[in-house]
Amino acid sequence: MFSKIFGSATKPATVTILPADISFIVEPKKTVLLSALDQNIKYPHYCRVGSCGTCKSKLISGQVRELTDKSYTLSNEDIQAGYILACQSVPKTDLVLEVPKLRVE
């Protein structure tokens, strides 16, 4: 019921980052970026509020709910290529994202 109204998952989602092939869990209603940071994953980021674009990530599969209007930040090409902002995206399903700058240490 609530997930229908708010469009967000009520159970944890698994997010996989390529090409590093890292997976982590995102709890319901949490953003991809904050979940990654909470789990000490060095997700590229900078402002946390959807204004700088550092955490932009290509959505390969899955669906997200976006908290803010990303067209303040991302270019037309980025938006059409399917980029999202990790700091403003709450998973609706399991996700696969492409983040070249994210590397395993």
Binding site: C47, R48, C52, S71
Partner: protein
């Protein structure tokens, strides 16, 4: 229930409630009470700020619902103060929205009689009070709410608050401009070394409006929407301000409109004076992480209480997504020597401000700057036209 009550009844909450109540009475009673309100704003706040000491507690544990009730009360108070002031500007038996008639019938409180006795100096003082209240509380809450970009209610409420001081577009520039460009020459809202507050206010104000225009039209272009439409938040923001001006027109005709804009723009200057002290002289390499050291922090208790933790600026800029009650004190950040409520007045006297802040800026160079910032410091010093900076060789050492 007990936890709920104990979270409501804190010294901070009681102080704010008492203050809100007393301002409610002073601004509603009008007339000579405007003098009292002006005295409190100008003197009592600064005095309490000086003797109130520091509040170095982190995350004061306020539950979000309570802190939000506080935040969302402010807009109602701001609108009420504006409405009542506009009402008193009217003449004779004019009764804006029937407020006077309603209160007289139901409480016996006779605003018509007060208006008949109100003098021009009282109204001017009242305008000063309204401007500083709108700037100090309205825009502070407007700023807080427009950072919550994920909440439509917060954004709309925040923009209506910022429109009180004629600049709802602050909500665009601040979040998508200032927070990224802080400390770089691209940021209109970072005060440069050697710049006085009087030079800063117009430069920052118009610079931010131009920057907001570019950000907003860029967004519209990417969405394929026309600049000349209601999607343009520049226009909707200005319309909000015009709506307030319209209420003043209903109350007192064109005289009311002129007075509204005088108050609104004075409030905007006050807001920019706060902007001025927050980052004076600080530099940062464009594109690098904003860190707590890139803001002048302030943990003065009374300033923090009154301004919804805005003085905890270091944490705010390092993590713009934190709501005000989660901001920590960062005792090791570059520290402002006095509270905001004192520093604003000091900034108005440029020689005094320079005397107080320049040693701190030089200290910032030595203790907080990283080597990548040294060339920027040298450049900022060279451009400052101020002996304090030009003769300083600290970065070279």
């Amino acid at each position: 229930m007990r936890a709920f009550l104990s979270s409501m009844v804190t010294p901070r909450a009681l102080a704010l409630s008492a203050l809100a109540l007393s301002f409610f009475f002073m601004m509603t009673l009008g007339g000579p009470f405007y003098y009292l309100a002006a005295f409190v704003i100008t003197s009592v706040f600064s005095l309490l700020d000086m003797v109130g000491g520091q509040d170095n507690s982190d995350n004061d544990g306020k539950p979000w619902y309570y802190a939000n009730i506080q935040a969302y009360q402010i807009p109602f108070a701001m609108l009420w103060f504006g409405l009542i002031y506009a009402w008193y500007l009217g003449t004779g038996m004019s009764d804006l929205f029937g407020v006077g008639g309603f209160l007289k019938t139901h409480t016996g409180f006779d605003m018509f009689a007060i208006r008949a006795r109100t003098t021009a100096p009282e109204l001017i003082t009242g305008g000063y009070c309204l401007a500083t209240i709108w700037a100090g509380f309205g825009t502070t809450i407007g700023h807080e709410l427009t950072h919550r970009t994920w909440s439509k209610v917060a954004i709309i409420t925040g923009r209506w608050m910022l429109a009180l001081t004629s600049d709802a577009s602050f909500s665009i520039e601040h979040v998508y401009g200032h927070h990224l460009t802080l400390g770089t020459p691209a940021d209109p809202a970072t005060a440069r070394r050697g710049e006085s507050v009087y030079h800063f206010i117009p430069r920052s104000t118009f610079g931010q409006i131009i920057s907001a225009w570019h950000i907003e039209t860029g967004r519209l272009a990417r969405k394929g929407q026309s600049i000349w439409s209601l999607h343009n938040r520049m226009f909707t923001g200005w319309a909000m301000t015009l709506a307030y001006a319209g209420v003043f027109y209903m109350a007192a005709g064109w005289k009311g409109v002129i007075i509204f804009f005088a108050i609104s723009w004075f409030g905007k200057c006050y807001l920019e004076a706060i902007n001025y002290i927050e980052h004076y002289g600080i530099v940062r390499v464009a594109g690098t992480q904003v860190e707590p050291r890139h803001s002048w922090n302030c943990n003065q208790r009374v300033s923090s209480w009154l301004l919804f933790n805005l003085p905890r600026h270091s944490h705010h800029h390092a993590m713009g997504d934190k709501p005000y009650w989660e901001l920590n004190c960062y005792p090791d950040a570059p520290m402002m020597p006095h509270g905001y409520l004192t520093m604003i007045y000091i900034a108005l006297i440029p020689p005094l401000f320079r005397k107080i802040m320049h040693p701190r800026v030089l200290d910032w160079d030595r203790r907080y700057a990283v080597p990548a910032e040294y060339p920027l410091i040298v450049e900022a010093n060279r451009r400052s036209n101020t002996a304090d900076f030009i003769n300083n060789v600290a970065p070279a050492e």
